[in-house]
Symmetry: D2
Subunit: 423 residues, 4 copies
């Protein structure tokens, strides 16, 4: 490009675009669509600042990747495959391209996977594909390979997705910024300085161990205080119930006042790329608004709950015993409320850092420290704090239910409920 | 309320709710609707962080007002009418309730005013109205009076809208935060400390003059660098043209694939409160998505431009002479493009601070300094910097046009255009 | 006071003074002296921003205490003894009054304790004492009691010093701000909101557990990355060696060119309050500058090292075996360098959070959570993260030595050293 | 250097050292001495956070210069003389090397100039000189030339000192950070992006005009709210009076208890580089502490005022008439206080931006905008806001006097004083 272009960004101050391909990708309609999909799904109902889009996050992941590579180049690290620069940048920019509206709930209800859709969009008849093909015929394939983790150079894959990748570095900072919590604020500039390529992987200089500890702690806190916030989960549960109910009705032959094509395709499991790209959160919210006037009382009620933020309440069951669920189901049925749509047990769970267990399924590559003598050590062997938080199995069972249920229980019902919760 | 409630807010850290009425207002569906209307309309197409909603701004204005009043109470200022506390808080919270989607463009195209709608919602058959009536029968009327500036105590009106009001204090800080520019960052805490009620008005202690200067400079910079950004204006122009064209077609009897009731009501100038509340940006973006597939080529093209951010380009005409427009119109017509939908001259203009000119129409109350001897002086008499920037008549004429036009002009056409622009 | 006074503070934005007594205390010469004593001793030689004084920290501790109390008053907690407000504020403000220059090194070399000196100043013939006596005759005694933890109400003592006190809350934020690291940035406003008085203690509402976790993690990171930074320790070691050597020389009858009275008094162990107050870092640095020209080569060399920041180098001994020290001492002696002044083994150690062990010496009061049913639980029983980091015994042995030593060792000496370090 | 070194810096996050020469310069004793000289002289008595040193500012100016040059190199601007990189960096780092303690007051009292001393240190028998000579024999001369503005390439001089230079960019941000005011926070990253070398000068791309406006406004606000704060001026006045009195006494043959060599040399106007380097703020504060016990009551009183922050009070004379001074002098003499040491009229004054007036003495080079057609325009021709604030002649006369004076005036004296002030 003749001249560097910039985007003003609240997290990285500026995002610098230096390649024509990147510029053109940003201007495709598929990438612009990400403006209509929120980064944090339903979190804006808990943290009103969290209204930022996947568009802004995608630019951020690109920028972090650009900074990492530029550091590698400045230091002239031999282990860095320079020819992979543009591939990394494109994969970083596009890695979330296939996200749909309210991904968590929709993916759960319809068993779709955003990564698959990303690859379908990259490889399909799209503007993105045409821009990528200008680089070379197999470039779209390579980009898809990096995103789906099948590309043959793990260092390229690891930059975009691993336990210390550009994706996480951006989203922790960005989600902290927009929600306004200050847990996510680790020292990005320092992390960028202490990572380096080494024998086909990204490793961390031992002197940077504390910076990584801080990053892992940020991640831990963001999960428990933001991503797993029970109000957000409640909104996701309501959404999932809406989709379940709507699909059921559709399959029963119910006639909707408003049923746009892309949604119909979703219901009929015959989704095309073209239709998928029409799915965005504006459309979904409009659908919910229409459906809040539908004849089916369950669907109408759930939609109106979501729209007006009258979500399900929750209580913590701790310790949790499976029979608790059965007994509350009975209680709810007795009060005349259908537990299939109004009751849910949720157990959020995540590992702050996954120690490597070779051979296990879904093994995650560990974070490695490299010392002055080029020795590699898995971080939890050197860091007491990482060892302490690794594999912490956290989380409590939450029972979600509608507010008015308690009122309908009657005194004896309430007493029974209380005894169930007490365990 | 039994216990103070808080909202996490990135700008004010926390927003404190201490009154049941405020809590209930926030939970009405009319107030929750503000989540679906962006604070800065089309600015997110220029500053991708600017995706924050009027919901978050409204909470912010409430919080600033709460802080001001709490300072007044702590200092036990006699000139503060304590009984007006709840009225001020409600008016602050609700002052933007009537904003529709992409207000600037819609208000321009359909000659509606969001303040009128705010009052209609406050006074109509709405949840907000019912919550307010619980305070007293004429409370909705009072709240509407403050918002429409007819309430009999100017100090109450001035808190919510004046040249130094809670509205501006929040939006400058908030818009700066979300866009990521750092012009808007004046010292709110200091301003809160130096204002006080005095003889039925809010005045500024003379020692706080520099803080007000800084606030006015912030405002000046935000206008010129954010609010009047030509890319944002371009998006607004495209939107206005869409509405003009759509209305025209509607009146000509054109049959739309997708024409939801609220929009129809808008076109037919028979809007009700109920329909108005269904208008939000999710609906509007869905409408634009549908219309980008309409048969009318102008409407389809404009909608697709907006959706995929292929806006109109601009050039600066300086100095501007009215005949420039006529000549460019001719040139565009010669290239086969309809200037009615593809050409616009825009002249953004604003005053950083309006010196009071008694008797003039739309007179704005000036900012007054009060000195140790209780003497009042209009700020521009004491501040060199305010005097310098007052009444600065700024702005340049921008000509907006579609990219491909230049290509269609041919060599002689381009030369002609260049001579027009050169003036 | 007629009108609230404010100090501009980078950490808390403003510090509000509302009591004449506080204002007068700040203006005493004993309190002003804290401007000449750095908050972080020798840390400015590692983090050049860390040039802030104990004056600014003391104002900060006062302000945090003021905010806590004002929250207690606003919530009208019955368990808060309102009559103790001024006592708490004074103790918070004055708690570091007895700090001398480079406290760590001087206290170590001369076995003084800054808390004792604080009490001697508060109780002695000083301006501070006179201001306090204006409140009541035994007020100085009460203030000293709170600072020395003998005051009969633990809630008052705990506010100023405990594992979650105003002192720590200010210094973590302040030291992070001035060094520029971002580990110390926990959410003060939230912590202020979740603590409350309960049966004579400060406790934390269970909903605030994560905020406390974050604060403890901040503390942990600040210790390991700032307070125990090996370069800072090196400077402290050099200072300690200077004082040891100087005292030794003094006792041997060495005549100094420059030996101001307060220092002489320190050497002769006959320090008075009056002399102590003359000890500040300006004086100590002037002394070091003069001494860098003294005849004794060890003293002159050490002083010049400190002054020009030519500190001792360090290596990590891990795992550490006591005989390592003996063998390195021999090696240093062979190279003709006196290990008494040029060699040190340092083992920094701290607990991020001390679980309460009743009956143990120096038992620290635990942080207690209070739930909705007013049940108290020690935090590590509820927080996985606190349990994980509690009682982590961290730290490595560092060997400090002068740069030129290695050069003097010769090849075989270096090999020997390397084998020692390898363990 | 084998590996980039970094300093943690609160303003720029990190300061990157990539050249052995820069690293060695930082480690010289002359540069380390800047740690003992505060950046803002007596401002810490007004803004307690302002305890940062010229060491930290000097690193900052170096870093800003490094960033500017690295941008020039990345863009491969032809007009940038690449061979001058190291010279620019050294001059930036060292430009304040000759500052003495409390520069303003000392320079005023003894008619010294810190720039002269910088050059003497750079050219003298110093560690700095030896490091520079390792580059080339005439390198020290070149560095001195840049700092004293005699170097033959104006672009090199302008980088370090002009109306938009690395010095100002760092100090505005740094002083704002440490005082805690938020006026100085312009967008450095944007300014770095919009400046470029052009025909032997640094110019600003027209698109960056608003960023420069913001920078000039920051400068304006910092002058009036921080640098010219009347409490700071009061401290400077007290210091100047101390030096005047001390010199007078010295010349009268007064024997001081404590009169270190460097100060004696200053009094006798026979200062050497070696002695000058021993002058630092630690020494000066120690001197003031000793002198507060001197027999001369004026000297002792003034020193004790400074030490314990019992500064002179002030009142504003506006409009100011010269005879006001004569009449207050009489009044003070009548009260038995010597106006020579206890009265001062101060008129602080500064221009936010100096329009270029060719031919005038001390002409300052203007800030030039360069447009797309490479046309240069002086910024005030294009920016309304710069034109508005240019050449604003601001400031008011302040009368400084000791607190107790008013008490000694008697009723009629006070009345007289009031009539004088009223003008």
């Amino acid at each position: 490009m003749q001249e560097e272009k910039v985007f003003k960004d609240p997290v990285h101050k500026y995002i610098y675009v230096q390649d024509r391909t990147i510029w053109d990708l940003i201007n495709t309609q598929e990438f612009q669509r990400l403006r209509r999909i929120r980064q944090l799904g339903t979190s804006y109902l808990t943290f009103h600042g969290a209204e930022h889009s996947r568009f802004s996050h995608s630019l951020g992941v690109y920028e972090v990747t650009r900074k990492i590579i530029s550091q590698f180049e400045r230091n002239q690290y031999e282990d860095w495959p320079q020819e992979e620069r543009l591939l990394c940048l494109c994969a970083a920019l596009l890695h979330d391209l296939g996200h749909g509206p309210f991904s968590h709930s929709i993916e759960k209800a319809f068993r779709t996977h955003h990564e698959d859709w990303t690859c379908r969009i990259v490889l399909g008849d799209t503007e993105v594909n045409r821009v990528l093909r200008r680089v070379s015929d197999d470039f779209p394939q390579q980009v898809a390979g990096v995103i789906c983790k099948t590309y043959h150079k793990p260092i390229v894959v690891g930059l975009v997705s691993s336990q210390l990748d550009a994706d996480r570095m951006d989203y922790l900072l960005r989600d902290a910024y927009f929600t306004g919590v200050n847990y996510g604020t680790f020292d990005l500039e320092r992390i960028l300085r202490v990572i380096r390529p080494y024998k086909g992987r990204i490793v961390v200089k031992e002197s940077g161990m504390h910076a990584v500890e801080d990053y892992l702690m940020s991640r831990y806190q963001m999960y428990w205080q933001v991503y797993f916030h029970p109000v957000t989960r409640s909104a996701e549960i309501v959404l999932s119930k809406i989709f379940e109910r709507a699909k059921e009705l559709y399959e029963e032959g119910y006639r909707y006042q408003f049923m746009p094509n892309p949604l119909q395709a979703l219901f009929e499991n015959r989704m095309t790329v073209e239709n998928y790209l029409l799915l965005d959160e504006a459309l979904m919210q409009t659908v919910l608004a229409f459906w809040s006037g539908e004849a089916d009382p369950v669907l109408a009620d759930l939609c109106s709950r979501f729209l007006h933020r009258r979500l399900l309440k929750f209580m913590v069951l701790e310790p949790y015993e499976p029979q608790m669920l059965h007994r509350t189901v009975e209680l709810m049925e007795r009060a005349g409320i259908d537990p299939a749509y109004y009751l849910e047990i949720d157990f959020p769970s995540d590992l702050a850092y996954d120690v490597y267990r070779p051979g296990e399924s879904d093994e995650k590559l560990p974070i490695l420290l490299v010392d002055a003598g080029d020795q590699l050590t898995e971080i939890s062997h050197k860091s007491d704090i990482v060892r302490s938080i690794s594999n912490l199995q956290l989380g409590k069972h939450h029972l979600y239910y509608p507010d008015e249920w308690i009122g309908k229980l009657g005194l004896s019902g309430e007493a029974e409920l209380r005894s169930i919760i007490a365990g």
